[in-house]
Symmetry: C2
Subunit: 666 residues, 2 copies
């Protein structure tokens, strides 16, 4: 990967490529119906020019007239869906049609991708538009420069309470736009310290500078809002959403904010969660809080994205009735239909917190009269922290493909969050970003596949995880089939491998408290976080059935019955829904305890195998990337062994049941 | 307790007292053989004047001639042991004799104590001298103002990289001197960041100012030294103790240091421990490192106190042969006799780390030709963090009274560290200080008893814990018998109560990693720290016998055999030395598991009882102190219940053995 200055260009490195007959179209490039002075069109042109120059060694020429034979036409064409595009090659002419400038940007990146992948443009005839209206990245960057759950260095947006704007800001926007991202939340949802001041004069200049850069790449800027801002910024001594003084303070504040940052998209709010203030503090509902803000930003075209991560984080571990998994649904379902139309509820993929395996949140499709957005986490908080390889697109796909049964058809999560199910206009997907100021942006070079993949998947939810992986490898490393197949194979197996050596069968957690890397089987067992495995000398698992916490009832049928039944429950989620004895027989014929032992030994063996596979790439990919990833694999192997030995020892010491294969357990 | 400015005066509050015929002596005070301009004599006089004024409402008068009838004579008398004093009252005259100024200070504080305790001086005839040559407090204060393992606010010595010198410095010295402390280490043994620069011109002025204040109260100032200082302060690129360039750098450094701080006592060094650099880095012995520094400070009367807390802190939990408990002995015993005579090895009371119960370190009395000093911890790192009440003097006493069998007689730890056993001149006791800048100095008002008690015990090792407690209550609160008995009873029972609800029978740990407050039974079980309980479904405990790790062999006989035998081993240390089944019968007839259940239920009941007892004091002691301690007890009760329920649930879930009394276990 080429480095520009001190950072790489990821999948936009534009290394030299075979032409495949693609260069021929760009001797004459004609813009038809688009203002070539528009910021986005200029960026599209600049990207095209650089890509062609670097990949094919040719310079495109802007023509004042439509080329008669042989050329590239970018044409405005009404009727194409918003942000969509068509690409047609016929009669020596390549035509990109779009109804708006975002469509042009995405179409150009599509063409560049085909060139990078050495696919001929000849005879191309496609139309494409994004499945999700909103495709967002949420940054958990703090203004001191740290990143909550960041594993790729420090923030490239903030340092020491100041906002950074430089070439890196632009490169980030290019990468995001190239995979179809159209919204970015700049700052951590846990809004603390100086970040509360982002909506004041102290920071307006720099924020609007970033907003303008983003706008040039079709990205709307959003900010995370401190719900208690009135109290902290010298407003009324309250944040009660029904208090007139509070409303009028916010009204004035938004007038000021949108005057200074007119292209601001709106705000993301985490309220009443993990110690953050919210409407509950004032005896109001979540809808009261969200609607008040939404009404006030509506005149400016703003939206309020309201997180549903609301649960009791001071639970008593002795209490087996309270179930954190229930909390999101319980807190939000009652008000379904009460949210105003520029409010979106943002719902994490699972009801717990981004574990390697958990059930899909029953709020998705449970809400039927509310804008909803799926939140996934590209940052590998619980999934290896960009040390361990964990390609997350298969996980995201599983969630999107999940049938909610909220309607007879068009009922998958992908249908729901894209608006196909209920006709919402404001909806989509958001990922917690895995980027930082490391030279390679994502800590582990291979973790960039999650950045790339999230964008591609949010744009086209029907792409397979494998297709996305293959694209990413081709653009990032090489179109050599051996290289491509090797890395795709590594990526595709990585999530299951990670699952094997960590917590079994959907139970989750068992992770070192606070850091969330490495094993601690009881680390969260006696805590206040609602995250328990309930293991004793006879068995483990959380009983979320009808006769347990009742969580299963939050699903539509037949999901509810399926999860409720130990026989019908998908085995990978068995311990998420059921408390079972170690001697329970799985479909494989193995006992539960033997499955735990076997899968943990397997997981480590698979990491060893991954290392051997990676080593086969030596000399075939750039040495620095080879070495960096090789070193991460070494740490992954150490981590996997710790997990294997701690989990196996824990359950052996607790159950007293020996491994049938008599392997080393401590 | 009276507050001066923003902090209390602890046991020197000098509230009004009944006279008991004591005031009469001070109408004429005559100094015979002491220079009244000496700093220590001036301080003794000031203390006497303030104490008499405040307690008895009288002003002592300095007389130029010996009083004939009725008066107080302070007389220099050779032959009295260093720092000792005699007090005789006969023929209307009260005489304080001492050979040195420290003796005068201590004698004056003795007299003030008797007045505060409302004990008549009439007929008094005592001589007294400190049992330990060195009686030190070690502060783990960092230069940023934080205190490692501090539970009483921030440092009153440092803030933001600067040294603080104010009235609080003086008050601290007064308190320390009043209980006989004669040495203070100012900064954390983990010398980091700016603290390395304490031995440079950047800080000399302030350090010497503190040294002068301390000197006025008979206290020598010590600093913790960064063994790697040459590398960090621009000296040679090495800290090899045999490297000539290194030696000559240190030589020059000490010339500079002692020129600027001539009364500096020397240095405390933590080397080759928990990531700190040391001689091992250069293939040298601990003796090489300590002796090199000692030789260089010797011309200035300086000493080197070298900590023995050296162990492998990256142990593999799977490894059952390596035993952290062995490390101190294994690392230091071979070089017994090699340390130069101004080196003192400072040895923690137990071989692990300040647990509520552990065996006495076999290095104490194991070393027979080396100056040694006992280190205890007044800061309640593992013993309740000054939230939970834990009067530690009974624990310190146990250690002092421990028979090492290193000689046929005079073989207790108290004998060894006082120099009685082997005739050492440099030896004694050090405590990690529990003070901070909280108004009450020690977080919990009652934790001041550990500050007071450590000093008194280090001075007079034959005092009982109860005598010390009684003195402290009388001076701090009241001589009312009900108050005194009530608080003494609370203090005296507190350590056993704490032990009951935390880790059982000497096994230790089971504590939340890093913070060290609250339970986490497996928190250190799979860690690198060498701190394991090895519980499985059948039993728990660490086998340190002959056939286990062999640790028992580090003791002289008959201790070795006693600990090696499960029948003879003191039961409170049973799991420290033996791995035993849950069904093992204790002398009480109870099984081990039933003992765990019972003691944990008992512990919580005792805390509830402590609260009732404390509540009986309402109205009898100052309301602010009553309320502050009451609130701490509330937190202690919460903590005790967490410990009870987590420990009981953990062992019930693991063993599957029910509580005989069928109480609630989760």
């Amino acid at each position: 990967m080429k480095e520009t200055g001190r950072w790489t260009q990821l999948w936009l490195a534009y290394d030299s490529r075979r032409d495949m007959g693609n260069g021929v179209y760009f001797a004459q490039v004609f813009f038809d119906g688009f203002d070539i002075m528009d910021h986005r069109i200029q960026n599209a042109w600049a990207e095209l020019a650089e890509g062609l120059e670097r990949m094919l060694g040719i310079s495109p020429v802007n023509s004042k007239e439509a080329p008669a034979d042989g050329g590239f036409i970018v044409r405005r064409q009404e009727g194409i869906k918003a942000e969509g595009y068509g690409i047609i090659q016929e009669d020596g002419i390549l035509t990109l049609s779009a109804a708006d400038e975002n469509g042009v940007l995405y179409g150009v990146f599509h063409i560049l991708r085909q060139i990078a992948l050495e696919e001929p443009l000849e005879g191309v005839h496609i139309t494409c538009h994004p499945d999700n209206p909103l495709r967002m990245l949420n940054h958990w960057d703090n203004m001191d420069g740290s990143i909550e759950r960041g594993y790729s260095g420090r923030s490239f947006f903030f340092e020491n309470g100041e906002i950074l704007v430089d070439e890196r800001t632009r490169d980030y926007a290019r990468f995001a736009a190239s995979v179809g991202i159209n919204g970015v939340v700049l700052n951590n949802v846990n809004v603390k310290d100086q970040a509360t001041w982002l909506i004041t004069d102290r920071y307006f200049d720099k924020v609007s500078e970033i907003a303008r850069i983003f706008e040039g790449y079709g990205i709307r800027l959003f900010l995370s809002l401190n719900y208690a801002a009135p109290l902290e910024l010298g407003g009324p001594d309250s944040a009660d959403p029904l208090d007139k003084a509070v409303i009028s303070w916010w009204k004035e504040k938004f007038t000021e904010v949108f005057a200074r940052i007119p292209n601001l998209g709106g705000f993301l709010v985490k309220a009443d969660s993990e110690g953050r203030p919210g409407p509950f503090t004032y005896g109001r509902t979540q809808a009261d809080g969200a609607n008040m803000l939404a009404d006030l930003v509506k005149p400016y075209g703003g939206i309020i994205i309201w997180r549903c991560f609301v649960y009791n984080c001071t639970q008593d571990w002795r209490d087996r009735k309270t179930d954190r998994a229930r909390a999101g649904y319980d807190n939000f379902i009652k008000m379904d239909g009460d949210y105003h139309d520029n409010v979106i509820l943002q719902i994490k993929n699972g009801p717990m917190d981004f574990q390697i395996r958990e059930a899909v949140s029953p709020l998705l499709g449970g809400l039927m009269r509310t804008n909803q957005m799926l939140e996934v986490q590209a940052a590998q908080e619980y999934t290896g922290q960009q040390i361990d390889l964990c390609y997350l697109i298969p996980l995201f796909k599983e969630v999107l493909d999940f049938k909610t049964y909220c309607k007879p058809e068009l009922d998958t999560v992908a249908d729901v969050v894209s608006g196909r199910t209920f006709g919402n206009k404001l909806c989509g997907m958001a990922a917690v970003s895995n980027t930082g100021n490391d030279a390679n942006w994502t800590g582990n070079d291979l973790a960039a596949a999650n950045f790339y993949g999230f964008g591609r998947l949010a744009f086209s939810t029907s792409l397979t995880a494998e297709e996305i992986a293959s694209e990413w490898v081709g653009m990032t490393y090489s179109n050599d089939e051996t290289v491509k197949q090797t890395i795709v194979r590594l990526l595709m197996g990585s999530r299951e491998t990670y699952e094997k050596y960590t917590s079994p069968l959907g139970i989750g957690w068992m992770v070192t408290p606070n850091t969330h890397y490495g094993p601690s089987v009881d680390g969260y067992e006696y805590s206040r976080w609602g995250t328990y495995h309930r293991a004793d000398h006879l068995g483990l698992g959380v009983d979320r059935t009808d006769t347990g916490t009742g969580y299963v009832r939050q699903y539509h049928e037949p999901n509810a019955s399926r999860y409720n039944s130990v026989e019908k429950c998908p085995e990978e989620l068995l311990l998420f829904f059921h408390h079972l004895p170690y001697t329970y027989r799985l479909k494989s014929g193995k006992t539960l305890i033997q499955h735990i032992y076997d899968s943990h030994f397997e997981g480590v063996r698979e990491v060893e195998e991954m290392i051997r596979v990676w080593e086969s790439l030596k000399g075939k990919i750039p040495e620095d990337s080879y070495a960096l990833v090789r070193e991460r694999f070494e740490r992954q192997l150490y981590n996997a062994r710790e997990w294997r030995d701690q989990v196996n020892s824990y359950f052996y010491r607790k159950s007293g049941i020996a491994d049938e294969k008599n392997r080393e357990i401590f």
